[in-house]
């Protein structure tokens, strides 16, 4: 059989962001996939040279629009560690609340895009309609919809009052009911299962070996979540990871669907235990970050890693960001061979690729 090389991307209807996959096809089946990255590199890490470590918060938030809170949270935790700042307990709980809100909206966005990738337009619209309510909650509590800019070094900038939290909880009840209404469609529908079950299977050994992270790893039956390390207030909230054993696209979408609901539970738990007090620790002007640290947090897509190095000046010496999609590309290349070309979009989207994150 003769080989054909098909370029998949960088522009493709199913891809929200540009990634190029060079697919070698034999008789409609993929035999090899070679990725090509670098279409949206912006050099944000380099900006640490010209922006001081406070201004870098707004820069790292722009690494990824969908999980801006979590990027800023990771960066702030790293700098706080370098400076030896103690974050007030209320701020730690609020950070959990906002990062879980972001996880819900990110998963809903992905579930919609995933439904769209196999042509289920109406399901896509339903998920995005629900997501819009989360964006409203973000705007009401922090001031902005997407890039909420709420984390600062030493705590958070906004302090929602009791009335606002009560409003937030009623809105969350609506969101939860609406997500549950879509459960039978997403997890039991024939058309959904036809396109996802058994597609792009990744065994748990392979997932672990290739360093998969996030829902890709948990969809393959490995119970590993960075939130188990107990950063911010997760250690006090009895967090348990969501795990599925299928290892295929369906298992990954199930993990994300259940995680969205689990995140809503986490927000409720965080609000019910929210301590009173300050939300922002005072930072002394003279203590600039010095030394180096590695900070890990859980993004909606998986483990996010920041390496920070300070030299006792306003500007950090080095900011290195490793995003979850970067870790999930090797597992994707193992999933693709053997698939029909028509399944490639669905499987590619199942790792939740965030390319501008990856290229920074």
């Amino acid at each position: 059989m003769r080989k054909t090389v098909v370029p998949f991307g960088p522009q493709h209807p199913v891809l929200p962001e540009p990634i190029h996959l060079k697919l070698t096809i034999e008789d409609e089946r993929v035999t090899e996939a070679i990725p090509n990255l670098g279409y949206v590199h912006r050099g944000l890490e380099r900006l640490a040279d010209v922006r001081d470590f406070h201004q870098m918060i707004q820069v790292v938030e722009r690494v990824c629009g969908i999980c801006s809170v979590i990027h800023a949270l990771c960066y702030c935790q790293g700098v706080e560690e370098l400076m030896g700042v103690e974050v007030p307990p209320r701020a730690r709980y609020l950070r959990v609340m906002w990062s879980e809100l972001h996880r819900v909206q990110s998963h809903l966005l992905w579930l919609g895009l995933f439904a769209d990738s196999f042509g289920f337009e109406s399901l896509f619209m339903q998920f995005w309609r629900v997501r819009e309510r989360i964006m409203d909650i973000s705007e009401a509590t922090t001031g902005n919809r997407v890039i909420v800019s709420v984390n600062v070094i030493g705590g958070v900038r906004r302090n929602p009052d009791a009335e606002q939290l009560r409003w937030l909880l009623t809105q969350l009840d609506w969101v939860e009911a609406e997500i549950q209404r879509l459960e039978t469609t997403m997890l039991e529908d024939y058309t959904v299962k036809k396109r996802t079950v058994g597609k792009g299977v990744l065994t748990s050994e392979k997932a672990y070996e290739l360093g998969a992270v996030g829902p890709v790893l948990r969809g393959s039956g490995v119970a590993q979540d960075t939130r188990q390390t107990g950063y911010a207030a997760y250690g006090e909230l009895h967090f348990e990871p969501v795990v599925e054993t299928g290892g295929d696209c369906f298992a990954r979408s199930k993990v994300r669907f259940r995680e969205a609901l689990a995140s809503i539970d986490l927000i409720r738990r965080a609000i019910s235990r929210l301590p009173d007090g300050e939300v922002r620790a005072k930072i002394k002007g003279k203590d600039d970050p010095q030394g180096e640290t590695v900070m890990r947090v859980e993004q909606p897509r998986g483990e996010l890693l920041y390496y920070l190095k300070g030299k006792g000046e306003k500007n950090l010496d080095r900011v290195r960001i490793r995003t979850p999609t970067f870790a999930n590309i090797p597992p994707l290349l193992v999933m693709l061979p053997g698939l029909y070309l028509s399944d490639v979009p669905v499987v590619t989207l199942s790792i939740d690729p965030c390319i501008s994150c990856t290229e920074r």
Binding site: H54, Q58, R62, D136, E139, A140, G143, N144, S149, D189
Partner: protein
């Protein structure tokens, strides 16, 4: 099969999820971070907003008492509002309307009287002047240039 059908039937009777946007606009939230406004009569031209701005969209000319702002480079993070010592900066809850041409907002302030001068002035004019009243009228001149 047909798992979506009840949802579709329900959507026939419930309210629409979308708005006819330019004609119907949702009320902004109380704490939304919208358009950045500088009440230049209160501005002391300290330059803190300029040094803290992560996108470097503000330029303060301390000698000429000029406050220049590029609303298209602004990311509406609100850091300048938080650090402003004279509270002359604030953000509206409404977003800036889209425009077809790029513009820079340039505000001209007036030099503040130094504390010593003020005291002298008060001594001369004596009890008539109210303590809270600002002596100079708002000289704000909003000009636009590219």
């Amino acid at each position: 099969m047909f798992r979506m059908t009840p949802n579709i039937m329900r959507n026939l009777v419930v309210k629409k999820s979308t708005r006819r946007y330019p004609y119907e606009v949702r009320e902004p939230f109380d704490k939304a971070r919208g358009e950045l406004i500088n009440s230049v009569e209160r501005c002391i031209f300290c330059g803190l907003c300029e040094s803290k701005c992560p996108s470097r969209c503000i330029e303060v000319d301390k000698q000429a008492y000029k406050w220049n702002y590029d609303p298209f480079a602004c990311v509406y993070c609100g850091v300048c509002v938080d650090v402003c010592p004279s509270k002359s900066l604030h953000q509206k809850t409404q977003y800036r309307k889209p425009v077809a041409e790029r513009l820079t907002i340039s505000l001209q302030g007036q030099p503040r009287k130094k504390a010593k001068d003020k005291e002298k002035g008060k001594e001369k004019e004596a009890p008539a002047a109210e303590p809270g009243a600002e002596p100079s009228p708002p000289p704000a001149a909003a000009g636009t240039d590219d």
